[in-house]
């Protein structure tokens, strides 16, 4: 289990989120400035759980149209064709192109959904005051934070293709409405990760230990 430790907050001290300096809060008010790096000091990120929930729910809502609406409309002499992300995966799947297909599948479908589920799990456990699996939960958080940006790959690919393949009137590629929602999913999950304060994971543990100890 995690080693029993006191948190700075329990001692009425604030730790700087940037330089890590622990300082006494300014007299009479909570939000002062770090004497070393001038970063705004707070015991915990303000309304962390609320904000994270808000971003997460918004991301989850956007995830639905992102997968149902076409992300790319290809117009050729044979006619216009709109593909959703999943159709793109199916389209790319071929004996030679399957790695590409897998990349799209992971980056565009599995990672965003995994992020949403992971953050939801973290939020629920924090709200219920769970003290279990703290280390795993922090590892999960770090993973989510690290991997989040890679989901933008799909957005970049699509925008590049749309910009490059403009052979009017023979062929043209245009981004579909699904792409907007997909980008929103990526941005909102990143914001959710950003607004989540991982220190909350430990708060429950320390308060329990304080209570028991």
């Amino acid at each position: 289990m995690s080693p029993a430790a006191l948190t700075a907050m329990q001692h009425g001290l604030q730790s700087c989120g940037v330089c890590g300096l622990v300082s006494r809060p300014a007299a009479g008010q909570e939000d002062g400035r770090c004497p070393r790096c001038d970063e705004a000091l707070r015991f915990r990120k303000p309304e962390s759980i609320h904000r994270t929930w808000a971003f997460l729910i918004a991301a989850a809502i956007c995830y639905v149209p992102a997968n149902l609406l076409p992300v790319l409309t290809t117009t050729t002499a044979a006619g216009a064709e709109s593909d959703t992300i999943l159709q793109g995966v199916v389209l790319l799947w071929s004996p030679t192109g399957w790695p590409l297909s897998l990349i799209v599948l992971f980056a565009s479908i599995m990672i965003p959904s995994a992020k949403i589920l992971a953050l939801g799990y973290l939020l629920i456990t924090v709200q219920r005051g769970s003290a279990e699996n703290n280390e795993q939960r922090v590892r999960l958080y770090r993973m989510v934070e690290f991997i989040g940006r890679w989901s933008m790959v799909d957005v970049f690919v699509d925008t590049f293709t749309a910009a490059l393949v403009q052979l009017q009137p023979l062929m043209s590629v245009e981004p579909g409405p699904g792409l907007f929602f997909f980008a929103m999913v990526v941005v909102l999950t990143m914001l959710a990760v950003e607004s989540f304060d991982p220190r909350l994971i430990w708060d429950a543990t320390s308060s329990k230990e304080v209570l028991h100890g």
Partner: protein, 522 residues
């Protein structure tokens, strides 16, 4: 100024209130906006979703779910979304998603078909589909009843709904080279097409649906004649070679032509879907239709080779009917074969019109009387050769006043008309008569006499030769007679000369006749 250290009178301290931060974080606007946008997209999607239809094809060749479009006048109005086999594995059931607000397209008589490259006679269509792949063509019906399940046509309809015109029906026993899309000609101008054809339930004739475009449909009146203008209609007649065609196109792929007889009454345009008869040739179309034809039976004892059903029956060269049946019959009582020929005769074409029908008299009995009278005057049927090259024969009716007496056998069904032997048969009879007579001639005696005469002739010729040689001798140049003749002729010549001198002189001196010759007259 207030001194700081002055002890204050007892002042109650303010009650500390724990401030509840109950306000809802602004951050919740984000999921609300997301939800609103998502809902709006969902609603617009739903609104933009058109009706779903099912189309049954006989084959899904060239169709691809998600790619094959439904086009109406080149506008994309739907997409095939799924293709599966029917339960009995005989047909293909395709589901299509239509564009929004296409409900009023999808009515009872809307037609759908697969557009593929198609070469049919005069037209090459659907070449664009070679590149773009097949698509579904559509013709919107005019019905009000909505429909969601369609059976696709096997071939595109010939007439698209936006061309004004009218449909008519033609009835024919033989389709010939006609097909859907075969052109209809009016004065050699293509004015329409064959839309469809259907065999009647009893399999006896075809009903052809034709479409004539506006404004040419007004020339189709109730007495318009239609005929097959396929190929070349060639006739060799006493007037020479006659070739009749419509256009090069119709020679290649066939066609139907129509014309309204110019001499008839001017009638209003025919109602749509009027049924007309399709004649085989223009000539046939212009023949008056048989009116109440009478059937008769002719029994020929001779060969009827060359006589076929459809062969004409004519009276002194005027066609009055045709042969309908030719067969052989065996009479067991006298072991004889005969060939009853059934003919169908239109009495009206003879100009026979029974007008004054008296009361109590049957039309039939009047006709019988008439025919009986004609037969007693010598009306007989005869086999005649129509064409020496092909050996085609026909039945000729004519009057043979010296023919053997005969009567119409009204008891037979059909009634039997008396016949006489055919021309060829007659000629053969006469020829054999001649041969018989020749046979009876005393040829040997004739020969003997001839020989005797020839001997006499020989003698005569010898005498003649002697006479001729004598004559020869007389005219020979060195003979005495010749010399004398020469002298005589010279004398005659001299006499003529003096006569000429005398004539000249007399012309100059006519008085010399009275006064005599004067020496110095010059």
């Amino acid at each position: 100024m207030v001194d700081e250290h002055t002890p204050l009178p007892p002042v109650p301290s303010a009650r500390a209130v724990v401030k509840k931060r109950a306000r809802v974080s602004l951050v919740w606007i984000i999921p609300i906006v997301a939800a609103v946008v998502g809902a709006w997209v969902a609603v617009t999607r739903y609104m933009s979703e058109g009706p779903k239809i099912t189309i049954i094809f006989s084959s899904a060749e060239g169709l691809e779910p998600g790619k094959t479009k439904i086009h109406y006048k080149g506008v994309d109005v739907g997409t095939i979304t799924a293709i599966r086999l029917s339960e009995d594995h005989q047909r293909v059931v395709a589901t299509a998603e239509m564009a929004p607000r296409t409900e009023d397209f999808l009515v009872e008589d809307t037609q759908l078909w697969v557009v593929r490259p198609r070469i049919s006679g005069a037209n090459i269509t659907g070449l664009g589909t070679l590149i773009s792949g097949a698509f579904i063509g559509m013709r919107i019906g005019s019905s009000q009843e909505e429909k969601r399940e369609f059976i696709a046509l096997d071939a595109p309809p010939v007439v698209s709904g936006d061309v004004a015109g009218r449909f008519f029906a033609l009835k024919t026993g033989d389709l010939g080279s006609l097909d859907t899309g075969t052109p209809i000609f009016f004065r050699r101008l293509q004015v329409g097409q064959i839309a469809s054809y259907q065999l009647s339930k009893d399999g006896r004739y075809f009903t052809i649906e034709i479409f004539v475009q506006t404004p040419y449909d007004q020339y189709v009146t109730p007495n318009t004649r239609f005929w097959q203008a396929s190929g070349v209609d060639m006739q060799i007649s006493a007037g020479g070679l006659k070739i009749e065609t419509q256009s090069v196109l119709s020679i290649l792929i066939g066609g139907v032509a129509f014309e309204t007889p110019a001499n008839g009454a001017v009638l209003p345009p025919a109602e749509p879907n009027t049924l007309f008869t399709l004649y085989n040739t223009r000539g046939e179309a212009y023949e008056p239709p048989p009116h109440n034809p009478q059937t008769y039976q002719l029994i020929f004892k001779e060969s009827v080779r060359g006589l076929e059903p459809g062969a004409p029956v004519d009276l002194r060269g005027i066609r009055i009917g045709e042969v309908t049946e030719v067969r052989a019959q065996f009479d067991a009582t006298n072991f004889e074969f005969s060939t009853p020929v059934t003919i169908s005769v239109d009495p009206q074409r003879l100009g026979v019109k029974i007008t004054d029908l008296r009361l109590g008299e049957n039309l039939e009995t009047i006709r019988r009387k008439l025919i009986d009278a004609l037969v007693s005057r010598g009306l007989r049927a005869q086999l005649r050769t129509g064409n020496l090259l092909t050996g085609a024969t026909f039945v000729g009716l004519d009057f043979f006043p010296d023919a053997k007496k005969a009567q119409v056998q009204w008891s037979q069904n059909p009634p039997e008309l008396p016949t006489v032997k055919g021309q060829i048969e007659k000629t053969e009879d006469e020829l054999s008569d001649v041969i018989k007579k020749l046979d009876q001639m005393p040829l040997k005696e004739i020969g003997d006499n001839l020989q005797k005469s020839l001997g006499d002739l020989d003698e005569t010729l010898v005498t003649a030769r002697g006479t001729l040689s004598n004559a020869n001798k007389i005219v020979a140049p060195d003979s005495v007679q010749g010399q004398e003749l020469d002298n005589a002729l010279q004398e005659v010549s001299r006499a003529a000369q003096s006569l000429r001198v005398l004539a000249d002189y007399l012309e100059r001196h006519p008085d010399a006749l009275i006064r005599g010759k004067t020496g110095d007259a010059k």
